[in-house]
Symmetry: C2
Subunit: 668 residues, 2 copies
C-alpha cells in the first residue's frame, strides 16, 4: 500500500506531534522515543501489521509489543489513529487519574495493548513467549491449507531493553529455538538517560545477536522503503528471529533537543514544542491535531482488519469440517486449555503410606493432568529433575518439535518469568515454570508483572525451605515465602502433603485471574491420614482446621504451612498428653484465606484463643497478622546453613518437641 511521500510525512508527523502534545499537556512523560521511531512504527502499523482494531482479541492477530514502554504515547497514538477504542480525549488525559492512557502501557486496561511494559527487558521476553506460544499452537493445530495460527510478533526495543539481562537470556533462547515469527525493531538512537550510550554501552549489538543465531539487519529509521524492505526480508527468514537495528534520532525534528538525553524523559517545553512543529511544517499553535487525510490512511486498518479476520474465520469454518478434532482442540485451548471433567484426573494420595515430597506429588499431578489439560505447557530453568516438572510422553519443545509440551528454559529464570507471561497473554496456553524457590528472586520482576496483568501463570517453586539441606544458605529460601506474599494479586500455596498438593494444582488451574505460586518441599513428607484429619479440600479456603482440640475450647492454636504442618500435628500429640487442648490449622494460602467471610476466618483463627502459634521454616515477618500480640512465631530470622536437613530442622527448632516446649513455657 504505497502512499504519496507527502502524505506519509503528514501521517508520521501526526504521530510525532500527538506524542509531543500528550507529554506536554501531562507535563510528564517521554516524547523523544515516539518522535524518533514514528516513521518506522508508521511503516509497521500501516503496511505490515495484520490486526483488527475492532477486535483486539482476534486470536490470529499479529502481536505488537512496545518493550520500550516509556514511549507509550507512540502506541496510544497508533491505537487511536488506526481505530482502536481509544478516543482522542483519552490521549488528552495522558497520565491522569483513571485515564486509558497511563504513563506506561497497561494490560488489560488499554484496548490493543498486548502486555504491560515499562520495566525494561520484560517486553522483549514477553514477545519470545508469544512467539513460542504461536509456534506451539501452529504445530498442534495447523493443517495443510488451514493456517489457524500463523501470525507474527513484532516489537520495538530500546538500548535499555538490550542492556537488561532478561533480554539477553530471552534472545539466546529465541535463537536456539529458531523463532522466525519474531521480528524486533531496535530503536538505536544512541541516547540513554545519563547521556550518550557510549558512556556504558559500546558492545557490538549486531554481532551479539548473530552469535545468538538471529538474523540481523541495519536500516535508517526515517527511510520508509528501507524499513519496509527490511521487515519483509525478516518475514522471509522463517528459521531465525530477526533484529532490525533501526538508526533513529531521539526527538526527531526538535531544533534544540533532538539527539539529546534531555528529550528522553521530560516534556520538550511549550516553546520547543512550537519550534518543533514549525520545523516539521506543522501548524505551531494547534495541539492534538489530526489532519483528516492522515487519519484516513491510518483508518484503512479498520477495513483491512475486518477483511483479514473475516477471511480467517471463513478458513476456520472449513477447518471445522476438514479437521473436527483439531478444531475441537482449538476451542478447548482458546477457552482455557482444560477438557471437561479434567478435575477428576487429579491423583488422590489417601492410599499412600510412604512419605512423599510435595515436589514429587506435584510431578504426579502434572502427569495426570497433561492428557486432560491440553493447554498445559511448561518446564524448568534447567532443574526439571529436581522440580519434577517433566511429563513423559509429551515431547520436548524444540526447534525440531514445536508441538512438544515440555520446555527447557535453560539456566534463565528471569527470561522464564517473562516468557511465561508472554505465553499466558498470547492465549491458548496455561504455562508453568519451575526452579528452586530461592531463585524466585531472579524472576521476581516478571512475577510482579504477572500479578499486575492478572496473567494466569503457574510457578512450580520447589526446595522451599532449609529442608533442602546440604546445598546451604545460598540455596535455602528463608525470606522468600514472606517476600512473595507481599506481591498484590499473587496467590501463594504451600501444601502440607501430597493430598494438599493435589488440591493446590486444582486451585492453580481454577484460579484464572492471576498467577499462582506453588511452594513445594524437597524432602519427603508423611501423607496426612485424612480419615482421622480434615479433608485437604480445605486448601481452597486458604486455611482450615486440620485437627480440632480434644476436650473442648482450645488452649492453643498451632498454625502451620507446608512441611511444618506435620510438626504441628506431632506437637499436638505431645501437648494433648499434657492436657493442653490443641487445635492445628493448616494454612497453605494466605490469599485464599483473606477472601473468606469473617465468620469462617474466626472459626479457624479464633481471636479469643490468645495463644496462637505459627510454625513456618522462614522469616517471622508478617505472621503477627495471625498469631496476634500474645502469640508466638516459630520462624527463622537468619540465613540457613549447610547440613543434612534433619539436623537443620532440629537445630533451628522446627521439631514437635521444641514447639511443645515453647507452648508449655507460655502456658506455665
Amino acid at each position: 500500500m504505497a502512499t504519496q511521500p507527502n502524505l506519509d510525512e503528514l501521517c508520521i508527523n501526526t504521530i510525532r506531534t500527538l506524542a509531543m502534545d500528550g507529554v506536554q499537556k501531562a507535563k510528564s512523560g517521554h516524547p523523544g522515543m515516539p518522535m524518533g521511531m514514528a516513521a518506522a512504527a508508521y511503516v509497521l502499523w500501516t503496511r505490515i501489521l495484520r490486526h483488527n482494531p475492532q477486535n483486539p482479541k482476534w486470536m490470529n492477530r499479529d502481536r505488537f509489543i512496545l518493550s520500550a514502554g516509556h514511549g507509550s504515547m507512540l502506541l496510544y497514538s497508533l491505537l487511536h489513529l488506526t481505530g482502536y477504542d481509544l478516543p482522542l480525549d483519552e490521549l488528552r488525559r495522558f497520565r491522569q487519574w483513571e485515564s486509558k492512557t497511563p504513563g506506561h502501557p497497561e494490560y488489560p486496561e488499554v484496548p490493543g495493548v498486548e502486555v504491560t511494559t515499562g520495566p525494561l527487558g520484560q517486553g522483549f521476553g514477553n514477545g519470545v513467549g508469544m512467539a513460542i506460544a504461536a509456534r506451539h499452537l501452529a504445530a498442534r493445530l495447523n493443517a495443510p491449507g488451514f493456517p489457524v495460527i500463523d501470525h507474527r510478533i513484532y516489537a520495538i526495543v530500546s538500548d535499555g531493553d538490550l542492556m537488561e539481562g532478561v533480554a539477553s537470556e530471552a534472545a539466546s533462547l529465541a535463537g536456539h529455538l529458531r523463532l522466525g515469527n519474531l521480528i524486533y525493531l531496535y530503536d538505536d538512537n544512541g541516547i540513554t538517560i545519563e547521556g550518550s550510550t557510549s558512556l556504558a554501552f559500546t558492545e557490538g549489538v549486531p554481532q551479539r545477536f548473530e552469535a545468538y543465531g538471529w538474523h540481523v539487519q541495519a536500516v535508517t529509521g526515517n527511510d520508509l522503503e528501507g524499513v519496509e524492505a527490511a521487515i519483509r526480508r525478516a518475514q522471509g527468514v522463517s528459521d531465525r528471529p530477526s533484529l532490525i537495528c533501526t538508526r533513529t534520532h531521539i526527538a526527531y525534528g526538535s531544533p534544540n533537543k533532538q539527539d539529546t538525553a534531555g528529550a528522553h524523559g521530560a516534556p520538550l517545553g511549550e516553546d520547543e514544542v512550537r519550534l518543533t512543529k514549525r520545523n516539521l511544517g506543522w501548524p505551531e499553535n494547534e495541539t492534538f491535531l489530526i489532519p483528516p487525510e492522515a487519519l484516513a490512511v491510518f483508518r484503512e486498518a479498520v477495513r483491512r482488519g475486518e477483511r483479514l479476520e473475516s477471511e480467517w474465520r471463513q478458513m476456520l469454518g472449513g477447518f471445522a469440517s476438514a479437521h473436527p478434532e483439531r478444531h475441537q482442540l482449538y476451542h478447548t485451548l482458546a477457552d482455557g486449555g482444560l477438557e471437561e471433567g479434567w478435575e477428576h484426573c487429579l491423583p488422590a494420595f489417601g492410599e499412600e503410606t510412604k512419605p512423599v515430597a510435595t515436589r514429587e506429588a506435584s510431578g504426579k499431578c502434572l502427569s495426570a493432568l497433561f492428557p486432560h489439560a491440553p493447554g498445559l505447557l511448561g518446564g524448568s530453568a534447567d532443574l526439571s529433575p529436581s522440580n519434577d516438572t517433566y511429563v513423559k510422553g509429551f515431547g520436548d519443545f524444540s526447534a525440531g518439535n514445536y508441538a512438544g509440551r515440555n520446555f527447557h528454559f535453560g539456566v534463565r529464570e528471569h527470561a522464564m518469568g517473562a516468557i511465561l507471561n508472554g505465553m499466558a497473554l498470547h492465549g491458548g496456553l496455561v504455562p508453568y515454570g519451575g526452579t528452586f524457590l530461592v531463585f524466585s528472586d531472579y524472576m521476581r520482576p516478571s512475577v510482579r508483572l504477572a500479578a499486575m496483568m492478572k496473567a494466569h501463570v503457574i510457578y512450580v517453586w520447589t526446595h522451599d525451605s532449609i529442608g533442602l539441606g546440604e546445598d546451604g544458605p545460598t540455596h535455602q529460601p528463608v525470606e522468600h515465602i514472606a517476600a512473595l506474599r507481599t506481591i498484590p494479586g499473587l496467590v501463594c500455596i504451600r501444601p502440607a502433603d501430597a493430598s494438599e498438593t493435589s488440591e493446590a494444582w486444582r486451585a492453580a488451574l481454577l484460579w484464572t485471574s492471576g498467577p499462582v505460586a506453588l511452594f513445594l518441599s524437597r524432602q519427603k513428607l508423611p501423607v496426612i491420614d485424612r480419615t482421622s484429619f480434615a479433608s485437604a479440600g480445605g486448601v481452597h479456603r486458604g486455611a482450615y482446621v486440620l485437627a480440632e482440640a480434644q476436650g473442648g475450647r482450645p488452649d492453643v492454636i498451632l498454625i502451620a504451612s507446608g512441611s511444618e504442618v506435620v510438626v504441628a500435628l506431632q506437637a499436638r500429640e505431645l501437648l494433648q498428653t499434657r492436657q493442653v487442648k490443641t487445635r492445628v490449622v493448616s494454612m497453605p494460602c494466605w490469599e485464599f484465606f483473606k477472601m473468606q467471610d469473617p465468620a469462617y476466618r474466626e472459626s479457624v483463627i479464633t481471636r479469643s484463643v490468645r495463644l496462637r502459634v505459627s510454625i513456618e521454616a522462614g522469616v517471622s515477618f508478617g505472621w503477627e497478622r495471625w498469631v496476634g500480640e500474645d502469640g508466638l512465631i516459630i520462624g527463622l530470622d537468619r540465613f540457613g546453613a549447610s547440613a543434612p536437613y534433619e539436623t537443620l530442622m532440629k537445630e533451628f527448632g522446627f521439631t514437635a518437641e521444641n514447639v511443645a516446649q515453647k507452648v508449655l513455657e507460655r502456658l506455665r
Copy 2:
C-alpha cells in the same frame, strides 16, 4: 614452574579424588565439575595465581572466584592443598553442620574464599566488580615503580553462569570498560542438569564475548601447557577482559558417568568411585588420599606466597617514603575509606525553608561526603539524574579514566548489584548504586548475597512509593519496602525529610557490618522543624518520638516512615484540636529499632496505648508487629496508578484528613 608429567597427573588426580570422596562421604554434592576442571585449575593455582595462603587478606593478592560454586570441592581441595587454614578433616566434614566446607563456598566463613557463590551468574559479576576496584585503586595509588595494586581476577565460570542475564550484563560492561585484569576460564563441558547443553544453549559463546569486546581463546582443559599458554596470552592483553573457553569432560575419569548429567549433582556412588580411581591409576580403596609428593608441589604456594607478599611489603615501604600522600590514601582506603572527622561534613538542613526531596538531600550528602570519604565510588543504573547519585568534580570511571569516582552501570541493575558486592569484597572501597526502588527487584539476588556476606554496600533507591506519580504502577514500589525488610541482615532506612536523610547517610557509612538500603522520595517533602520536634539523630535508633502527645498520655500513636511522617504530623494537628492526644513516631528503620533495648522500644511504641496507627504508602504486610491487634494500618494493598502524585496520595488515603478521620472513627 614445570614439573614432570607424572607428578602433574598425580596432583590433578589428587584434586579429582578428593572431590569424589568429599561428595561421596557427604552423600550429597557435585563431583563432576571438579573432576572435569581439575587440570585447568591445577595449572592456574600452581603456575599462575599470585597469592599467599598464610595471609588470605593480603591486599594485592590475585583473586580467584569459583562462580560455579556448586563445584565447591574443587576450591576446598585447592585451599587445603596449597596451605590455607582448611584442615583435611574439614574436607571430610563436607556439607555438615558447622563445618568449614559448606555445600557452596561461603564468605567470610571459609579462609581463602573470596566471595559466596552458588546462585549462578553472581560470581561472574562479582569478579567484574573486583576488577573495577583493582583498576580504580591502581589509578589512584600506583606510581612509577610502585605497583601497589596490580593483581588480577581469575574465575571459573560454567554454562549456567553464561546463561544467566546478570553475567551478560556484567560481561558487556567489562568489555566496555576494557578490564584487562579479568581472566575467566569457561568450563565448557556440554552438560547441564537437564542433559546436554544442546537442549537449551546453542549460541556462539566465543562470538558473543567478542561482540562484548572480550579477548577469547579456546583450549582443551586437560592440556596443561595449552591452558598455561592461554592464560599467559590473556595476561598479555591488558585492554580487554579474557574468556578462555576450556573444553572439559564432566566427571573426567569416571568409566560410566563421564560426560553425563548424572555426574553433575549427585555422588558417583561407592562402586563408581572405586572404578574411577582404578581408571585413574589410584589406590581404589583409599579415601581422601594425598600423596606427599603431590602435596609438596601444591605447598610450594606457601613459600612463594610469603615471598610475593614480602616483596610487595618492601615495595610499599619505599612507596611510603616516595609518595607519602598516596601512601596515606592507601591506608585510608584499606581501613574503610573514611578520613578522620568525615562526619562533620554532612549537611544540616535546619535552615531550609523550602521542601526538598530526600533524593535531592541525598545528592547533597554525597557531594559533601566525597572529599572526606575517599572510598566512596558509585553511580546508577542509568538513572543518575533521577537518583541524584552523580557527584560533580570527581570524574567518570571509564576505560580512559579509571580514577573517576562516578560510575555508569548502564541499564543493568542486576550486574550493578553483583558488581557492588565485588567492589566491597575487594576492599578499599565503599561502593553505592542507585536505581528506582521498584527495580530493586531486578538486583534482589545480589542484595540477598550482600546481606549474607555482610558486604558493606549502599543502595540509593529513589522514587520510593506511589509518590513518584505519573509513571504509574510498573514504576511504583508498593510491596518493595516490605519485601526488602524480609531479607535478614539488610538495613533499610526510609528518611522522613532532608535532616533524616543526612543521618541516614551517616548511619549507612557507620554500619559496616552489612548492606544498607536508602529509600528516598522523588517528591519534595517539607523539612521538619527540629526546633519544635525531636532531633533527626533518632534515625540511629530506628524509631523515635518525633512529637509527643500534648496533654498527657497518648490516646493514639501515629507511626510513619518517609514521606508519610509529615502526613502524621499534620494529622496530629487535626487530632489535637479535637482533643485527641496524639504522639507521632518517625520510624525510618525497623532493623535499628529492633536492636534497641526493650525499655527504649516500649517508650516509643507503648503497648498499653491500644490505638497505634501505621502510615506508610506501601503494603500493610508486616505492620501488625508495631500496631498490634487493636491498631490500624494505613497502607496500600494493591498496585498503584498513573496520575500526578498529589492525586494518588489523596485517592489512596495518605492525607492528614483521612488519617484523622480513621482515628476518630476508631475512638468514637
